[in-house]
Amino acid sequence: MTLLDGLSLLSIASGCFFFVAGSVGMLRLPDAFTRLHALTKADSAGLGLLVLGLGLQADSWWTVLRLLLIWLLVLLSSATTCHLIAQSALRRGAALRRGDNDE
């Protein structure tokens, strides 16, 4: 196993860690707004590290380009949709978790 393979696997493993953390956060965090936080980490960091790791192994620049394009699209759409979902949740009056500075 070369150094490149090692780096690539390390990056993929870290990416998977973020995905798992996202799922755990989705289950454990107390309300929709904090769960949003868990989701966006998986989208941006998780998929980004995964794409980096796979890009290191890719056999052509065309593949790297496609991987990057996919990541950028996911970044863009996840940022937008999370903003919209949070906004609509606020509009619908979803309850924030009580007991913080808001009260």
Partner: protein
């Protein structure tokens, strides 16, 4: 198509072609435990999702579960080495169907009054449920017996397809079958799509009823936020003013009741659609073009185009293309017209119906696919709009607030 010369030596053929290549990896054997675990996870989650989708009383939950079912199904098709099906499933199952169902739910809620989206009617239908369960059970039993009696290793027709691949004008076996060898089937599928639109239009009834039904979803989300301005908590108003001020049309705080919901003029959504809609057109074209040699083709391409139209409509970016209603109808049937036109032209050239001459096959297949993709997209959009591609122009709030 009379192939079958090479049915016996299948191993020779399996070395080439994207679809027929069996799982012969350098490191991962077919029996590897990791693939078993992956397959088991897919099977379990698909069955579980299907069961939960059917079981739940909450219609919104059922829709989300169904969207997720589409995503999982696409992944399962990918794992099963059927990327063509995975593409269509990803585009239609996960994207287009989700929006169609959500819009239906919005219409239902608007028609029945607020908060009535629980499927209460099903609760009293236990005998019907029993009957349906029994019938479905019989069907599953019959299917199970039929599958059981299939030969274990059926050669199928893939060898026959590969034998004549070069004459089809495309190097993707799936496209070759869909657009050349079995073009009849695809022609009839397009007809079925058109019938579906006709059905939707008939069900939508008269012009007035039609536009009402199609706009029910929009009306629902327009009224809902306004009703909720009352019970909003103290965090609400502060957050609401943010996006409004960014659009630069400030008004006094007294005018709050007359304003549309903030999302209507959300600059983030507008900007997103401006970036992504052109990208989707490019991807639709790419998927269509690459269908000649790799997974892709008219159906996924049309679905991506339809999803782009949904985005535009949801963001109210534009009213859509400026079309007369007659023009809309022509677009709906264009795919079929070109398909029939090519078929009849072949008859005129003293060939059989839809039997292309080999040198022209590539061009003809691409022509049919391109027009069919547009018609498929138009069909999906028309289904979303209650059977009509072009609606009677309505007194829109959109035009007032277009930035």
């Amino acid at each position: 198509m009379r192939g079958g010369r090479k049915t016996a030596d299948r191993t020779e053929n399996t070395d080439e072609g994207i679809r027929s290549k069996a799982y012969s990896h350098r490191e991962v054997s077919t029996m590897s435990p990791v693939l078993w675990i992956l397959d088991a996870l897919f099977c379990a989650s698909l069955l579980g999702l299907a069961w939960q989708t059917l079981r739940t009383r909450d219609l919104f939950k059922a829709i989300v579960l169904y969207i997720v079912f589409g995503l999982m199904m696409a992944m399962a098709w990918a794992r099963l080495d059927a990327p063509d099906v995975a593409l269509v499933e990803a585009a239609i199952g996960a994207g287009v169907t989700g929006v169609l169902l959500l819009s239906t739910l919005g219409t239902l809620s608007a028609a029945r009054g607020e908060g009535s989206q629980r499927g209460g009617a099903f609760a009293s239908a236990v005998p019907v449920a029993g009957l349906v369960t029994g019938l479905v059970g019989c069907l599953v039993g019959v299917l199970a017996v039929a599958v059981w009696q299939l030969p274990v290793e059926s050669p199928g027709l893939s060898a026959a397809v590969e034998a004549r691949q070069e004459e089809s004008g495309t190097s993707n076996p799936v496209t070759a079958v869909l657009l050349n060898f079995r073009a009849y089937d695809t022609l009839l599928e397009l007809t079925v799509l058109l019938l579906a639109v006709l059905g939707a239009e008939v069900l939508a009834g008269s012009e007035a009823a039609g536009s009402e039904a199609a706009e029910g979803g929009v009306a629902a989300q327009e009224t809902a936020p306004r009703q909720e301005t009352g019970p909003r908590q103290e965090t609400g108003p502060r957050q609401e003013t943010g996006p409004r001020q960014e659009t630069g049309t400030r008004q006094g705080p007294d005018a709050q009741q007359e304003r549309p919901p903030a999302a209507d003029r959300d600059p983030v959504l507008r900007g997103f659609v401006r970036l992504v809609a052109p990208a989707m057109i490019v991807v639709a074209g790419y998927v269509l073009w690459i269908g000649g040699e790799a997974p892709g083709g008219a159906f996924p391409s049309g679905a991506v185009l339809a999803a782009m139209s949904f985005l535009l409509m949801l963001a109210r970016a534009e009213e859509g293309p400026r079309l007369s209603r007659r023009g809309g109808r022509w677009i709906l049937v264009a795919g079929l017209i070109v398909f029939w036109g090519v078929g009849i032209a072949m008859l005129a050239a003293e060939r059989r119906f839809l039997e292309y001459p080999v040198p022209a096959a590539k061009g003809l297949v691409l022509l049919i696919e391109a027009v069919a993709a547009v018609s498929i997209a138009a069909t999906l959009v028309a289904l979303y709009r209650g059977g009509r591609l072009v609606r009677r122009p309505r007194r829109t709030v959109d035009s007032e607030f277009r930035s």
